[in-house]
Symmetry: C2
Subunit: 349 residues, 2 copies
């Protein structure tokens, strides 16, 4: 297998241009959504999503909370689609996130929210999908067709769409400027490819691992874990460092592999302390960071070649994770484009 000829490799490497396109083409749609949020004096946000898009929702949970001071809830789609006992949504923005826009449970949340009079918006790669049609506002990812089953470029585009919305709503020019740099930051981070290909060999026979991120990078931990699961069939558990200490820490035995996502920022101190606990338990720490001290505590340090504001770091920190999952699939002679049992579009009710 020549990995460079897979859709997955190509799509991972398309991410700088995909995000550039999103930034240049969706300004109007985002401003129209911001205008509606302001006019209706929206007080909280409900997000419905599955899989990779649900991980983007986790990012929105923190970003809209920290920057826009919005209270964000992740929806419980089965209350809408199966139990038919939907909560009263109130004066909320209800956001559906889905690459395909097809999953009936996510569409059901948006349809009911609109019926109740909530403000609705969809972030999707298919504006003419059921989800796109169910929502009042649509942000088109403009990611081009994603042919690999495992989502990569649509994930970072979803993050970028959320960040564009947050920056516009906050009217924060420094955020907007930083976001324009994202394609370049991602391009530089893609240069970790050769190093990660080499390191993936070490994990040929890894059966299980844990991925840790907290705060803005809680989303990164979940998305990295999902990529490894989908592409390499490893059992991978994502956690916030705080949740991990409330019980799951017991699982760790000497040599247990734990990937720690810890770019510079307010959360770094917490991650340094957490890494010390892991070292005391003789875990094998794989660190994704741009901080020298944190990297020095890792058995396998994966140094991010760029330093960005913490709120933007999830767009960069997921890149080595995507590359790692891809190369680990290759090391195991698995097909990176067609994981067993999965299809590109998953429809759950």
């Amino acid at each position: 297998m020549n990995i460079t000829q897979t859709f997955l490799f190509q799509e991972i490497n398309q991410q700088p241009e995909t995000i550039s396109r999103l930034i240049s083409e969706e300004t109007t749609a985002i401003h129209s959504l911001v205008k509606a949020v302001r006019e209706r004096q929206i007080t909280h946000v409900v997000i419905a999503a599955r899989g990779t898009s649900d991980n983007a929702a986790r990012y929105a949970n923190y970003l809209l909370g920290a920057v826009n001071r919005l209270c964000v809830a992740l929806a419980t789609p089965s209350l809408f689609s199966i139990y038919k006992q939907a909560p009263h949504i109130g004066n909320a923005l209800v956001l559906g996130i889905s690459q395909s826009g097809k999953s009936p449970d996510i569409v059901a949340v948006l349809t009911e929210a609109r019926r109740q009079g909530a403000l609705t918006a969809a972030i999707t790669n298919f504006p003419r999908s059921d989800l796109g049609l169910a929502a009042e506002h649509v942000i088109d990812l403009h990611a081009g067709e994603e042919r690999s089953v495992a989502a990569t470029k649509t994930y970072t585009s979803e993050l970028a769409a959320i960040a564009l919305f947050s920056a516009a709503l906050a009217n924060d020019e420094s955020m907007q400027t930083a976001l324009k740099g994202a394609p370049q930051f991602i391009a530089q981070t893609l240069n970790m490819d050769a190093e990660i290909a080499r390191i993936a060999e070490r994990y040929r026979y890894m059966r299980a691992c844990v991925v840790i991120g907290r705060g803005f990078n809680y989303a990164t931990a979940f998305e990295l874990a999902l990529k490894i699961k989908e592409l390499t069939y490893t059992v991978v558990e994502p956690y916030s460092s705080a949740d991990f200490l409330h019980g799951p820490l017991a699982m760790i035995e000497p040599g247990f592999p734990i990937i720690v996502i810890a770019p510079q920022g307010v959360m770094l101190g917490e991650m340094l302390e957490f890494t010390r606990i892991l070292n005391k338990r003789q875990a094998e720490v794989i660190a994704i960071s741009d901080d020298q001290e944190l990297l020095s505590h890792a058995r396998i340090p994966l140094q991010l070649p760029v330093s960005v504001p913490e709120w933007l770091s999830p767009l960069v920190a997921i890149i080595p994770g995507q590359l790692f999952a891809m190369h680990l699939a290759a090391v195991r002679d698995l097909d990176p484009d067609h994981p067993r049992a999965l299809h590109k579009v998953t429809e759950t009710r």
Copy 2:
């Protein structure tokens, strides 16, 4: 080791009396909270919790949504405790759930919520703890001291406290009557002990597994997974069936153990369909259910001896899970009362 002499065994078996006590002693506190919720015309709920208590929060997410039509958000404590960028909470009930009432991150959410003028309540086994003192309203679990590190009786008491609040707020007498039967239902379910002790042998060398529940029993899946992790150091991933189909399904190979929690109710059809997918992939299905058809699809059927309304089923369906985790620890000669690396009180900031 004589398992019956462990705190864990004793505390699991105390659950009927613990819940009886809660029901008889906390009526006044719950009615006072209900009165405040009504007077202040609360529109949404934010819940802060970690570990086992966070799983009780997942139950509240569904129960308060379905029965009381309240929009529920699980808090992002780090925005309060580490980033110091707390969202504007608005006219919400902010609920902290914690056995010890000590974790600083959870206390930080309640303190900030009260500062903002939100209605605050704590569900805790220690009303005089930091959490209890930070909240306007306190529901005391009355569970007695829990000496095993792994929480069992405080979990079902937290579920019962949430259900009592939901029933009182809905002014639903049939729910209140059903809840009074919970101690008896749990007592009957505890009779599965001998059967589960026998079955645990089969999983002596299980390294990883998945636990599935959706809707009301999403919480049960997470709590069962946490018990197995804490007590037996197995890597266990909990999922809703819908989330599992959006990627993680790829992990399943012939013989992969999957515990499916599927009591009778509206969600049963979904679980039947899901179990068929697992069988097609030759997974080893362990089913916890009171439905004959579902049990017939399982390699290892664990038949619940009682049938209860679906919203109440999490109080019953977790019992075989607690017993399974305990017996699996015994089968592996692990100390059920003192899992390695853990302490009874975990304080995260």
